[in-house]
Symmetry: C2
Subunit: 210 residues, 2 copies
DNA sequence: TATAAACTACCTGAATTCAGGTAGAGATAA
DNA sequence: TTATCTCTACCTGAATTCAGGTAGTTTATA
């Protein structure tokens, strides 16, 4: 018997999920909560197999709540629930311990598949959520066309900057003068139009140079 | 009639794909190449609808070739082909202009679906490739457990550091003294055990704080 | 009310970065 | 051989960061 807990401030959602699962005899809805406080109280003494977590709750940030649940509860599989579809939120949820992500317009089949996959240790995203995540990579395609040409040495310095090394440490590592390292860093800044190292690294990441 | 071009150094692969598609009357295999040089020569005067690109070629780096093809050829849909399954390669291929990614152990159905989806403007990854990409997010789950507690202000400063702002600019933006900003940055460095801002940002990213 | 954490602000001095240059040597292609 | 690009190295001076502290005020909680 799989236990499932629903955290959502809209009774409609809990009701809809109940209707979807009422004749699935291996899944038991063991409770619902309307806000984070209520949820954490329940989870103090219970460990459901599946937690459906609305990421837009009235009293708390869904990302934070996900993290809190994960820290207290290592076993449950957390499925994020939302009406919106934002790659950044999705990936942050995964970072913070969620095992999957569903849209509230899901069909019954999708919910059952999600439950099955996460219980089998996989990550499940709804189709459109999955597309959003992938698009974030492809969305920098247009950046390719004006990618500046870096020299071999410049790439080397960029990588070391990205590792967090300071000028003198890089110079020592590469058997160069600190002045030389500084010159390469300056050239990089000019090529990527940056006025600080942080900006340089940020731009380089955006352009797929790192 | 959809034209498809195969770039792979193994005749087995081209042959296998030919067998898969020989009775698909809307797809025409317009050629094959065994290395990057040969491929670029063909693509100088041809623009197939689909390009299947082996990422391990004898004469060139598949990622670079992907990029070169994309820069010369805006319309074709590029599907990466590989025997291995590495999230980093996958995402880099997408960065560099690929529209999808297939494993060489694909079934005919999967190849047809991939072709269909990329021609419809979607990104297609084989199931296991897709899992690899998602796992890279979840793979930092374990970092959650020793995540340092940052104050609200510290998070704010961290975000601004990540945007590339310098101390005085942050102070101005937040209506604080530069000394105050510097103190928060120092506290962050201590909490994350860093001795430069670059290190701080790197560690913060690794721990999912950014 | 008392306490602790967070926030704010400051100091000194050293190290590093940033900005604007200069210039010679080595490697490569025409 | 010449021209060009890359690499190496240097200078000055200003700005910023880093490192080690100090201390008062505000906020939230018990």
């Amino acid at each position: 018997m799989i236990t499932l807990y629903i955290i959502d401030d809209h009774p409609l959602v809990a009701g809809g999920i109940y209707m979807m699962l009422k004749d699935v005899n291996y899944i038991h809805i063991c409770g619902t909560a309307r806000n984070g406080k209520e949820a954490m109280e329940f989870l103090e003494t219970n460990e459901p197999d599946i937690i459906l977590l609305d990421i837009s709750l009235p009293d708390t940030d869904g990302l934070q709540l996900c993290e809190q649940i994960r820290q207290k509860n290592k076993q449950s599989k957390i499925l994020g629930l939302t009406s919106a579809n934002d790659a950044s939120i999705i990936t942050q949820m995964l970072h913070r311990g969620a095992n999957g992500y569903l849209l509230k317009n899901m069909e019954r089949d999708e919910l059952l598949e999600a439950i099955d996959r996460v219980l089998n240790g996989k990550i499940f995203l709804s189709k459109s959520a999955n597309e959003k995540v992938l698009e974030q990579y492809a969305s920098v395609n247009s950046a390719l066309e004006d990618k500046p040409a870096l020299t071999r040495r410049e790439k080397e310095i960029l990588d070391l900057l990205n590792e967090g090394l300071k000028g003198p440490a890089m110079a020592e590592k590469l058997f160069l003068s600190p002045y030389t390292v500084e010159t390469h860093r300056k050239n990089l800044m000019q090529k990527l139009n940056a006025s600080s190292t942080q900006q340089l690294l940020k731009t380089a990441r955006e352009k797929g140079l790192l």
